[in-house]
């Protein structure tokens, strides 16, 4: 997918921070040396082209009283899609990936209480006769997705 130098500069900048100010595109434009309208149009196109997924807040779950847990399980190949889709139906599931390895389905689930998560996981375990391993976080060292383009 073609991106020119200005697109790249914009993407690298707004992955770090989208300005919290009345005219954010004016700030971005100034930092890059283009016009406000130009910055706006380019960002609009980058969204339409499927480069930018979203622009918005990255929320720290713990600070608003949410709990989350990473889960891993082993699933037989012919059951993979069925189980993955059952997991996806739960709104608190934010990530769900099939992976290579001894545990081949990994997902994260967030909810207001540990009890809610447990009852969801126990339901899945009963329904599909699987064992789900839970890997709750003890300490966060880094959460920052940044893809230099």
């Amino acid at each position: 997918m073609h991106l020119d130098d200005i697109d790249r500069k914009i993407l690298n900048l707004i992955q770090h921070e989208f300005p919290v100010t009345k005219r954010p595109f004016s700030h971005i434009a100034k930092a890059i040396g283009i016009e406000e309208k130009d910055a706006f149009e380019r960002i609009k196109k980058l969204k339409e082209r499927g480069i930018i997924r979203r622009i918005g807040p990255v929320i720290e779950r713990k600070k608003i009283g949410y709990v989350s847990v990473l889960c891993g399980l082993y699933v037989e190949k012919d059951k993979m899609e069925e189980i993955a889709h059952a997991i996806n139906t739960y709104a608190g599931v934010t990530h769900n990936y099939e992976r290579d390895g001894e545990l081949n389905l990994w997902f994260t689930v967030t909810a207001k209480t540990k009890e809610e998560i447990d009852s969801f996981l126990e339901g899945l375990e009963r329904m599909f006769s699987v064992k789900i391993y839970r890997f709750p976080e003890k300490k966060v060292f880094k959460i920052k997705t940044y893809f230099p383009v």
């Binding site: 997918m1 991106l3 993407l11 992955q15 770090h16 921070e17 989208f18 919290v20 100010t21 009345k22 005219r23 954010p24 595109f25 309208k37 960002i43 499927g50 480069i51 930018i52 997924r53 979203r54 622009i55 918005g56 807040p57 990255v58 929320i59 720290e60 600070k63 608003i64 009283g65 990473l70 891993g72 889709h85 997991i87 996806n88 709104a91 990530h95 769900n96 990936y97 099939e98 992976r99 390895g101 081949n104 990994w106 997902f107 391993y133 839970r134 890997f135 709750p136 976080e137 003890k138 300490k139 966060v140 060292f141 880094k142 959460i143 920052k144 997705t145 940044y146 893809f147 383009v149």
Partner: protein
């Protein structure tokens, strides 16, 4: 001693107020030259007040940042790997920080071993190919001296969204 329950109560109420506020903030801002004006209108607030509120929440760490999130597969980062490492408990702070310095690492957590294995440090790595991911892991291993690890490459993405703030 008497003050403690009182403080806890305030904290719980703050969290509830933050959740209520965030419920009205879309995870993807409207495409508008003045997007905060649109958000403010939806929240029945003045733009200046909304901006102050958002800035306060960033300062408090409730909002980690306001930023663009890319479709990483569309910018050539087609490979992601979860790498789990076994690190001595005494060294985990130092090693966790060291691994976090790699720009290719998006997530780095100390986690419970889940009663399943001995791996306690979890990193998410992004690269343009499997080969590139393996090179990154090798560099991380060499630099930190951690040699006991396992790599789980992604095969299929079933879901990837962000945290949603739901109704009370």
């Amino acid at each position: 001693m008497k003050r403690l329950p009182h403080i806890c109560k305030i904290e719980v109420m703050d969290k509830k107020a933050d959740r209520q506020f965030l419920k009205n903030i879309p995870e993807d801002f409207p495409l508008n030259i003045e997007p905060y004006d649109v958000l403010a209108k939806n929240c029945s607030m003045k733009t200046e007040d909304l901006i102050i509120r958002l800035k306060d929440m960033i300062k408090a760490g409730t909002i980690r940042r306001i930023a663009a999130v890319l479709y990483h597969r569309n910018v050539s980062y087609i490979c992601n790997a979860m790498v789990v490492w076994m690190v001595d408990e005494k060294e985990i702070d130092e090693i966790g920080k060291e691994m976090s310095l790699f720009p290719e690492v998006s997530h780095c957590y100390e986690r419970d071993t889940g009663g399943y294995w001995k791996y306690n440090l979890y990193t998410m790595i992004h690269g343009r190919s499997k080969k590139e991911c393996i090179e990154i892991v090798k560099r991380m291993s060499k630099q930190t001296g951690i040699t006991d690890f396992k790599i789980f490459f992604s095969k299929r993405e079933f879901k990837k969204t962000s945290v949603r703030v739901t109704n009370e």
